[in-house]
């Protein structure tokens, strides 16, 4: 399996290098089209890489402990699916997997019917695959084997480090860190990586357009599906990561402004801005410069995010600790940054479209505000990540910015964004009279005021919570009333067909509703969540917010070879009535001297009751329990689903729908 993995991987790298040389020759001969041979080479390279990845997966499943990487992430007790996910459970494997994903994206781009990839854009994509594959094979090779030297000591190396050394098979592997043994591990990393990789194509087309001094709409036309899909995967990945960290204690709840989390948010913010500015360019022919800047910036931030995760320069729960590849990554990032800046400056004048915004209260103006706020958020988060590095380099002092910084800077910006999002659908293109908006506003406004009044009367007195819920309700009711108005006008029998035909617009609305729901979840967690901790003897009860938890018993079981399970049996009461039996647990790994908490959650749309077993004693017996009531949290996950579904709706409309769209009146139902 060693050679089956290693040789195809080296051949793939070789194929990419040859393809790059051939492409350079083609460009030299002023040939802008990509030679057939090059495309064939790149596709075969992808097949070869796939063989390499499959070999590594087989080694992981078969527990080939002669392989260093396998020995560090797999052990016999792990279920099969987790052995496969161990492919991205450590630095070497995940870098290899990532280079394969980038190659996959290039393969798909080359296979698409539309002639998307010309010589220049291929050159840029191939340089990326070549770089990451090279980094994997020469920086942190996942196929490194373990060798026994003649003096009996063990070293790891690809090939025999000295004459007489033999390949050594370890008896057992270390296994994946218990914190990574979670369903989230199966989809969160691949989804995030796929989202990242999809942004490579728009970047390549963007750079190629700039270099060849083209000035057409090709960029938007061809790369929009890639941006939308990239956005969908990135969004899905981020929301899943958030759910994972909510489900595993120690990762600080749903969002902790951990550097790696923050870094993954950066390309999401610029990609979101890009989607808005693409739309404006399509509809109004403005914002061309904005498009180019955002396409390049999104890619650069993806590379930055990879750098933050893999360089070891930033302290984070997610980060890999090794830093052997940080210098090449930094050089790579700076190269593309400089290239982007030079190209943009060079072409800046030529890119200028008519920048014309008729009124400060028009949809195009609102798009502009939205993008300014998104870029402000990007700046704020980027500063939070690089300020400690800059400050360290200049003054020698290590300084950090944590939650406090992000809470203070991002809260007002996010609130502003939600406000814009809430009222934006009411505002038409071009200049709008305020009177007209008012006419459409009063129903949603009335309903949201009513909501807040009802909540106030039923005892909710927290001003921030009421304000947040008001904003969210305003946005949701606006979308709802507008959709119903459309429904009345079109006729409900034809409504579904209409919705599907117009999925570009309603998909976007679904995404907006998703953002509002996520905002609702955040309002719940930040202003309404409460918790209590206490130690209980059997049949003692602990109260919180009308709930009571009763401790019944605690048991230790040894069913798993690797860990012992300590499980508490508890009963949850609401107003004196039993509503659930909950079993918060700990998995204790004696060999690792580590334990992980497995929370027990009673969940409904309104709230979670979240129990964590903090400590216990089976002899007394007692348990120490942390109980939280987290109102509205599940709207966050529901919102995440809305985002992905809405994004997919938009993604299924390709650019040929464009004519269709022109037919539609923007305001079908002016009453």
């Amino acid at each position: 399996m060693f050679f089956a993995g290693l040789i195809p991987s080296y051949l793939a790298l070789l194929a990419f290098l040859v393809a790059i040389v051939l492409t350079v020759l083609a460009i030299w001969r002023k040939q802008s089209e990509l030679p057939k041979l090059v495309s064939l080479l790149a596709k075969s390279a992808f097949i070869l890489q796939t063989i390499g990845v499959i070999s590594l997966i087989v080694m992981l499943i078969l527990e080939d402990y002669t392989n260093y990487y396998v020995a560090s992430v797999v052990n016999p007790a792990m279920p099969g699916i987790l052995k496969v996910t161990a492919l991205w459970g450590g630095q070497a494997g995940s870098l290899f997997f990532w280079s394969w994903l980038v190659s996959l994206i290039v393969f798909i781009a080359l296979s698409s019917k539309r002639k998307l990839i010309d010589a220049w854009s291929f050159l840029i994509l191939a340089a990326n695959v070549g770089f990451f594959l090279g980094l994997s094979l020469f920086g942190d090779n996942p196929f490194v084997r373990i060798w026994a030297l003649s003096d009996g000591s063990l070293v790891s190396s690809l090939f025999a480090p000295e004459v007489g050394a033999v390949v050594h098979k370890l008896g057992i592997g270390m296994g994946l860190n218990p914190l990574l043994r979670h369903p989230g591990m199966i989809i969160h990393p691949p989804m995030l990586y796929l989202g990242y990789a999809l942004f490579f194509v728009p970047f390549a087309v963007g750079i190629s357009t700039l270099i060849q001094k083209r000035n057409d709409d090709q960029l938007i036309h061809d790369t929009r599906p890639w941006v939308v899909l990239g956005w969908v995967f990135l969004t899905g990945g981020i929301v899943l990561g958030s759910w994972w960290s909510y489900d595993v204690l120690g990762w600080g709840g749903y969002w902790a402004w951990d550097p790696v989390e923050t870094a993954s948010l950066l390309p999401w913010l610029t990609a979101t801005a890009l989607l808005h500015s693409f739309l404006l360019e399509r509809k109004r022919g403005i914002f061309k410069r904005f498009n180019f800047v955002l396409v390049l910036l999104t890619y650069l931030l993806v590379i930055f995010s990879i750098f933050v995760t893999r360089s070891g320069l930033v302290n984070s729960v997610h980060a890999f600790s090794e830093s052997t590849i940080s210098i090449p990554l930094l050089v790579f990032m700076c190269f593309w940054l400089l290239t982007s800046i030079v190209l943009l400056v060079w072409r800046w004048k030529a890119l200028g479209g008519e920048f014309e915004i008729s009124s400060p209260i028009s949809r195009e103006a609102f798009f502009l505000y939205t993008n300014i706020i998104l870029l402000a958020l990007t700046t704020v988060c980027l500063w939070g990540l690089i300020f400690p590095l800059i400050n360290g380099a200049v003054t020698g002092n290590q300084v950090v910015l944590d939650r406090g910084y992000y809470d203070r800077t991002t809260t007002p910006l996010f609130l502003l964004l939600v406000f814009l999002l809430a009222i934006c659908p009411l505002i038409g293109w071009n200049a709008v009279q305020l009177k007209k908006i008012g006419k459409k506003l009063w129903i949603p406004l009335g309903l949201s005021v009513l909501t807040v009044v009802i909540l106030f009367l039923s005892g909710l007195r927290i001003a921030m919570a009421l304000a947040g819920i008001f904003l969210v309700a305003l946005g949701l009711f606006t979308l709802l009333t507008l959709t119903i108005r459309d429904g009345i006008a079109v006729g409900f029998s034809k409504f579904w067909a209409f919705l599907w035909r117009q999925r570009n617009r309603y998909g976007a609305w679904l995404v907006h509703a998703g953002i509002l729901l996520i905002a609702l979840g955040i309002v719940g967690m930040e202003t309404l969540s409460t918790n209590i901790q206490g130690t209980m003897l059997p049949h003692e009860k602990m109260p919180l917010m009308g709930y009571e938890i009763e401790f019944n018993s605690i048991s230790e079981t040894f069913t798993n070879p690797e860990y012992m399970t300590a499980e508490a049996d508890t009963t949850l009461y609401k107003d004196g009535k039993e509503i659930a039996r909950l079993y918060p647990a700990q998995h204790i790994y004696p060999e690792r001297n580590q334990f992980i908490s497995i929370p027990a959650v009673d969940s409904n749309l309104g709230r979670d009751v979240y129990l964590l077993l903090v400590g216990y004693n089976v002899d007394v017996p007692y348990i120490t329990l942390r109980m939280s009531v987290n109102p509205l949290i599940n709207f966050m996950w529901l919102g995440g689903i809305f985002l992905v579904l809405g994004g997919l709706c938009v993604a299924t409309t390709s650019s040929h729908v464009r004519e269709d769209e022109e037919l539609v009146q923007e305001e079908p139902l002016e009453v």
Binding site: L154, V317, P360, Y369, Y405, R408, Q533, Y622
Partner: protein, 160 residues
Amino acid sequence: MKKKNTKLIIGIVIIIAAVVYLITSSTLSQSQYFLTVEELQSNQAEYVGKNVRMSGAVLGDTIEYDPQTLELTFQVAQIPGDHRVIEQMGGMSVVLAQAAHDPTLPKMTVHYVGPRPDLLKDEAQAIITGSLDENGIFQASELLLKCPSKYQSELPEQSK
């Protein structure tokens, strides 16, 4: 038409100014020093009561946890703050293992109230936010633990 655009530009400038203000004021008020045990102890008077962050190697034998009161105390030993130094010494896991068994290194007692983190164990790297009190004990408000773990170092060294 032109006038309207001027208005818009003025608006944008105001927004940018507000963001710059937000960033600078928050950076000034929220940034924390990230110190080693040694740096903290050699300038104890300067840092008492100030919100700082500290990194050190957890000494497993010193961990005391009372699940009734959720009071957690443990000691951390000095590890270098500079990445390059850590790399030169053979990587984080080696540094942590050495620090946990070297009695000559400066140590700091940490006090924390809350659930015991899953990764708190011997030779883990603790990144602790909080402040130093008058008795020289570090009162932690937040614990972040990372484990390059000795299990990695049980695997053979990579030969170049």
